[in-house]
Symmetry: C2
Subunit: 208 residues, 2 copies
DNA sequence: CCTTGCACTGAGCAAGCGCTTAGGGCTTCC
DNA sequence: GGAAGCCCTAAGCGCTTGCTCAGTGCAAGG
């Protein structure tokens, strides 16, 4: 209809190296369906149908429906953690690194908002072992952000009474983008990233 | 086990005037189950079991499982909207009213985090008409917060380049409390309310 | 041309789902 | 004491669910 989102050329790219082709189609279909209706409301028939195959074909590539979710959640968490750790390891000032972290993380959440929605809001549906594995990565994202904020405090650049609490709030703000972002709305991943980077610098009391 | 949450005397209070007693037990059981596992993963047998009755008894008080969700979502949204509108209509400075709004809204989200979780994250499971009804109330919460921020800008108290975007971010920050809040953690609804009120005043550039 | 191996399908199974129905006790009125 | 009305249960209906399995078509190797 000509109303496609402005970032279609990037969305779905995170699955480019899943092989074979049928497995890739299944993951993309599952992400779409899970993001739209949630894991429990999605049927394996729906996923297989979206991928253009019969319900039984799904089980050639994935043992269970939960394994599909685990694949999505694992890849998504690894990508998100990578973005934050790269920003934390940068060589700018703490303010520059924090702004970079928020900008790029938010940009990713918005661009890949379907994947992000599954990653952030469906982890409760994972099996016990897979859930524990994912939790470890989430602790990593927390410590990446906290280390930047702590650096800013130590350098005297930030004014933050409660580092742990502020870290939590910053991450919470970024994560929630996946819930409300609408690719057909006015805001682009770029403008939201800029806005949020600015808001977060204000939260930590960094001078502009 | 003696590890009960510190706000147990308040939690569940929002259903005090649901009658008869069996219907109230059902709502409380449904809130608990929906918050724990999500709407779609919760069975009517589970709800009835938690309420101490047979599966069939549920249908004497509610026509469908969705009607239970609608009751919860409706009451929850009305309470949340009331809190924000009361803060917006207060007679302090814009900074005082914004801090009050954030503090009391966050406090409510944390204290009633099971209800809040259902309210904020299960609205997609509502039927079409009920969903539209709830969306109208959500637009109300947005305009309540925006009006406070706009007042602050007009009065020259706030420095906000993007009022709509900042409103979105403030509400997003508060709403996400329902996702991560843990009643057995260190933070209480009061301390989170204080922290968030401070962070939001920084976001709008209000002088302390 | 035949065999092997693999992606895939049509049909369907056992289990669990939301919800219904027939009927039983209890209280409340005359 | 009997009728009426309400709250509740045991049983189960029709359907959908995640998942399985015997068998098919097809490309690769000899």
């Amino acid at each position: 209809m000509g109303t496609e989102a402005h970032e279609d050329h990037e969305a779905g790219q995170e699955w480019a190296d899943v092989s074979p082709d049928a497995a890739r189609r299944l993951v993309r279909a599952a992400v779409e369906a899970f993001a739209e209706r949630g894991y429990h409301a999605t049927t394996t028939r729906d996923i297989a149908g979206r991928a253009g195959m019969s319900p039984a074909a799904l089980y050639i590539h994935y043992k269970t429906k939960e394994e599909l979710l685990y694949q999505i959640s694992g890849v998504g968490h690894r990508l998100a953690l990578g973005i934050l750790e790269q920003a934390a390891a940068g060589d700018g000032t703490p303010a520059e690194r924090l702004a970079d972290a928020v900008r790029s993380f938010v940009h990713w959440q918005a661009t890949h908002h379907t994947t992000a929605r599954v990653v952030q809001y469906e982890l409760g549906a994972l099996g016990e072992e897979h859930y524990a594995e994912v939790l470890a990565m989430r602790r990593g994202t927390d410590s990446a952000v906290r280390s930047i904020i702590q650096d800013g405090v130590d350098a005297g650049d930030f004014d933050v009474p409660d580092v742990a609490g502020t870290t939590l709030a910053v991450l919470s703000l970024c994560i929630d983008v996946a819930r409300w972002f609408n690719p057909n709305g006015r805001r682009t991943p770029e403008t939201i990233g800029e806005l949020y980077a600015d808001l977060v610098l204000r939260m930590v009391g960094a001078v502009r």
